[in-house]
Amino acid sequence: MQSEKKNLGRRIRRHLPLYFMMLPGLAYIIINNYMPLAGLQLAFKKFKYSLGIWGSPWNGVKNFTYLFKTGDAWIIIRNTLGYNLIFILLGTLLAIVVAILLNEVQRKRLQQTYQTVILIPYLISYVIVSYIVYALLGESNGMINNSIMKALGHNPVPWYTDPKYWPYIMTIVQLWKSFGYSSIIYFATILGIDKAYYEAAVVDGAGAWKQITGITLPMLKPVIITLTLLSIGRIFYSDFGLFYQVPMNTGLLYNATNTIDTYVYRGLLETNDIGRASAAGFIQSVLGFLLVLGTNAVVRSVEKEQALF
């Protein structure tokens, strides 16, 4: 016991520089992520500026009712979850495919070029993306209507007034914008796989496909699980830029583009109600947290060592 304690003390002393290096990060997480947890109480309070966070009176779940009052509650939740599920599924698939393809590129120069090029959309602000989309889809000047539809002898399509096209448009835009970034993460993992596995596989006569299914994918599994769990934690959130900017906040498209975030933004724009805004945040973060716990429990029961915790 005594020696163990001494051991610990010595260990701490030896790693002191490392602990020291951890301090800024720790401080950041405490200030930025843990201290605001106290603000969760705002979701259950009628916030009064004159009384402050701690002094404001409680008002039960009254802040939450507006989320469900609207006839659109179902549409909003469906959109938020539905889009996120599609994004997670297709996004992961696309990212892995691109990462593997990237890995198969033999020439170093080209590989680096592709790597940079696929990252570019990720770096473009959604405000600019919304104009790129508008340049393609606009009714009077848009490229698709004027250069493609006309040439094919079709009538111009009123993209911005008919919600039925938007599930596809949103998905394409989101995938186009985000696949580069996630591909890089998978690509980095693939680069880290020991080349000896592949050499052994080649010796055993495995083709490219066999190598992918037998080595690359299993090695990628921990990263896939981690990234998917992280995205599931944010499944009740939606990218505000994507859902607000890209459809240009057009009313007729709400059925296909309204998510929890945009609904809350529009609903509270007029009233600036801090309690209600916190209530929406509360639901998003708490449900997301529970979902992560649940998914992790499922992963743990299937394959213990792959679980996050």
Binding site: S50, G138, Y160
Partner: protein, 489 residues
């Protein structure tokens, strides 16, 4: 011994500091929020010094510091400052309504302070001060203005003259439509009716929205102007008739291409020559021309479309000067506000800048830029007078006539007043319904007013969704509060 001496000395110093502070305490410095738009107010320090010199001469014990905030971040910044009291006086424009601000405790009640230090405010505003009351308690001072408004159509003067349109013949939607047809025939490529962002191009007409942004339960002022019956604007004949005209306008091709994707205010399209005209709301045609001509930069005509300009609470309290409840200088803030309302010298300073530096007085009794300066290069914004509490006691800018503000004040006495003038709605009981109905309005109204899609079907589902979102609860709540208010008058 030495130690005792040291302690004594320290105490003595402390006391002298304290007494010094209390002597100095007669002068308080207050933070006043000022909005920056196109002009960055580079000489703000010069104007602030001049204001403080003037205040020192008056011996009020108040000094000011301008906190300049960009228009784009105005609401967010002010909202933040309300949480810690770092501003002492602000104009609650582009913010939630004052009933919301009063309800969430961010602005302080003003009854006692105005009685003590704000007699000038009360006298200047007269009965119109009631529009800043929430539940019988006064929460601020609406800025002086021509308070009433009617729907106007402003149009490019050169085109009117070329095609032969006499703006005085345009008095309603029928005569407007006829005139637009004539212009459209001569200029088929020109947009007749410009719209702004999200397809918006027209305010609510002839209705008192009773304290909500959209007329979710309103008084229809066109009918007889005295009824206190709260109704659904979107189900009213006013709105249905409007939709009829919209169909005609769309059929004739009067609207912009891709109207929903407009990225500018509607007037910008008249300015850049893409559109012939657009709708605005002002108290009278002359004011519409004077204000919009400056913004558009082209000669324009204005024609009043609805019969009478109406004064409603919404029109008046949208720009109310308030004191945050966390401010520690409330008295000083009200003293300064009182001076802004009553002292022409001070009001001229904040509205127009320093004479000889930012403006010169002309022979006609109005003011213009000094030699070599213009709206962009002058160091104190010339177009922001309407932001301050009382532009009506300042010099108007050329080409406005010297007596333009007298006309404004006269219009306040003669305009039609909504029977609910002075009533503010406390929406906290139906806040869920209000935000949910507002979403429905955002969803349908722009499309309906531009005739996009199958408007008959859209209109039906619009009305249905409004009902499902609880518009009738809002109407009932408004009616109940309005009746109580009317009974107490």
């Amino acid at each position: 011994m030495k130690r005792t001496l040291a302690v004594l000395l320290t105490l003595a110093m402390l006391f002298s500091c304290l007494s010094f502070a209390s002597a100095e305490g007669t002068t308080e410095t207050i933070q006043v929020a000022y909005m920056l738009t196109m002009n960055a107010a580079e000489q703000r320090q010069m104007v602030q010094d001049a204001v403080n010199q003037l205040l020192a001469k008056k011996g009020l014990g108040v000094q000011v510091e301008f906190v300049c905030i960009d228009f784009a971040s105005w609401a967010t910044q002010i909202n933040l400052m309300l949480t810690d009291g770092s501003v002492d006086l602000f104009n609650a424009c582009f913010m939630p309504t004052i009933s919301v601000l009063a309800d969430n405790g961010s602005i302080a009640p003003m009854d006692d302070l105005f009685n003590q230090y704000g007699q000038g405010i009360l006298q200047t505003l007269g009965d119109y001060i009631d529009c800043a009351k929430v539940g019988g308690v006064l929460y601020g001072a609406p800025k002086m203005n021509a308070f009433s408004s009617a729907l106007m159509f402003v149009m490019n003067k050169d085109i009117c003259d070329e095609v032969g349109i006499d703006p005085t013949t345009i008095t309603d939607f029928d005569t407007l439509t006829a005139a637009l047809q004539k212009v459209h025939a001569a200029k088929p490529d020109l947009t007749m009716i410009a719209n702004g962002k999200l397809g918006a191009y027209m305010d609510t007409i002839n209705a008192d929205s009773l304290g909500t942004q959209y007329p979710l339960g309103c008084l229809l002022l066109g009918e007889d102007g005295t009824s206190l019956k709260v109704q659904n604007y979107y189900a009213s004949d006013t709105f249905k008739n409007l939709l009829g005209y919209v169909k005609q306008w769309a059929g004739n091709g009067f609207f912009m291409k891709d109207p929903m994707n407009a990225q500018d205010g509607s007037m910008a399209y008249i300015s850049n020559g893409q559109a012939f005209g657009g709708f605005v709301s002002y108290s009278d045609e002359a004011t519409a021309v004077s204000v919009q001509q400056k913004a558009i930069g082209k000669d324009i005509y204005a024609a009043q479309i609805t019969a009478a300009p109406w004064a409603t609470t919404n029109n008046i309290n949208g720009m109310t000067w308030c004191v945050p409840s966390l401010s520690t200088h409330k008295e000083a803030a009200v003293k300064f506000l009182n001076e802004l309302f009553t002292d022409p010298e001070l009001s001229n300073l904040v509205c127009n800048g320093i004479e000889g530096v930012h403006y010169v007085v002309t022979d006609q009794g109005n003011i213009t830029y000094p030699e070599g300066l213009d709206a962009a290069s002058t160091g104190w914004p010339s177009g922001m007078g309407t932001f301050w509490p009382n532009i009506c006691i300042t010099y108007p800018w050329s080409p406005d006539p010297a007596d333009i503000y007298q006309n404004w004040l006269a219009s306040n006495d003669t305009c039609s007043k909504s029977p609910a003038l002075g009533f503010t709605f406390d929406s906290s009981d139906v806040a869920d319904e209000v935000s949910s109905c507002a979403t429905v309005v955002d969803k349908y109204v722009p499309a309906l007013l531009l005739n996009i899609g199958d408007t008959d079907a859209l209109y039906q589902s619009f009305l249905n969704e409004l009902e499902a979102s609880g518009i009738n609860d809002i109407i009932t709540a408004k009616q109940a509060q309005l009746d109580t208010w009317a009974a107490s008058k």
